[in-house]
Symmetry: C2
DNA sequence: GCCAGCATGTAAGGAGTTACATGATTAT
DNA sequence: ATAATCATGTAACTCCTTACATGCTGGC
């Protein structure tokens, strides 16, 4: 008699992204999955460590990933996960479904919208902080992009990285534009 | 003896945005607040109806808004809310705090990232759906922008609307660019 | 007569966060 | 030695959503 059929729970969005990360073929630990997931932060929300552990357990319970105990360095042991065929089917189906609209929460836009409640100097500080954040993201994403090179295997990832670089450059330019509007009201 | 001091709870982000909406000076019902909040959807998440009612009750309990029973049309009655001085202080302080980084969740970027799991034709459909969504947002936001005119009272709102029009135009252009990359792989 | 819009809520649950708790290994 | 990184989890809580439930009013 084969194993009991895994309970058919539907993964959360984060669960699906973890399946996606495992679809690159490597066996990863929860810790490694978190670090890979952090690379999605340029266009997606990176999950908390604790959620990665919770989700990957759920995925294992559902049979979408296979768990394996690995002993490293003699005594220390780690759980690693790899995608099962069912898991791959699940991500594929999830991705093939019509996409939800993008989610955007833009604190700077919100502050301009409610600009009558803010001292212009404070608003300007917020805009400048945003620009600095954009620069930071551009640095980080630029580094990622360089690491990808033109390796055929990371072609799609590179496309997204290039898209992201444009996105954050646009974001930065928009911040500059808004700041001018604020500083020179008439 | 004055009224018991209102319990000092901190509003949720949605609660603060409701305070912000009330800071434009009008007394609004829960229903009207929801419709006003929907105008934030171009750069912020619009709350569900039920959450608006829950939050506005909490704000009233905290003394940040004042509730008033209004009888319309003889029998029908509505609760309307207006901002109290404490409420105004609370939003101001919230907005003056350093902004959180923007939140972005971009399903199309995610699909490109995991492009190896998708039939190119399906990916193209997703990109085209995204472009259609951008066009829709541009239409809606354009209509909002026109309604604002150059009324001095809506100056900041108009600045955000103009920013949004640029944002969605950029989004649309990026979708076109990505689609070309996908269609012509070499 | 019926449907769209106005109007208000409750109940249940989903998805995620922060804070806490623990401990081994590696590099400085 | 001590700090950073690797490694794994639990508990409590927040914020928000969907589904449900109800009823009035105005226009076609």
């Amino acid at each position: 008699m084969p194993d009991a059929p895994p309970p058919s729970i539907t993964p959360t969005p984060t669960g699906f992204t973890l399946l996606g990360l495992l679809s690159f073929g490597r066996e990863l630990s929860g810790y490694e999955l978190k670090r890979w997931a952090d690379n999605l932060r340029f266009f997606w929300s990176a999950p908390a460590m604790s959620q990665v552990y919770r989700e990957v357990e759920r995925l294992a319970a559902a049979g979408l990933v296979a768990q394996r105990q690995v002993v490293r360095d003699g005594s220390r042991s780690t759980k690693v996960y790899r995608l099962t065929p069912e898991g791959e089917r699940a991500v594929r189906d999830w991705l093939a479904a019509p996409p939800d609209p993008p989610v955007l929460r833009h604190p700077v836009a919100l502050r301009v919208f409610f600009g009558h409640l803010l001292d212009p100097a404070v608003l300007r500080v917020a805009i400048e902080a945003h620009r600095a954040w954009c620069d930071d993201m551009l640095d980080q994403l630029g580094a990622v992009r360089e690491g990808l090179g033109d390796d055929e295997r990371w072609r799609n990832v590179a496309v997204v990285a290039d898209w992201g670089l444009d996105y954050y450059r646009g974001e930065r330019a928009a911040a500059d534009g808004i700041e001018k509007t604020i500083t020179a009201p008439e």
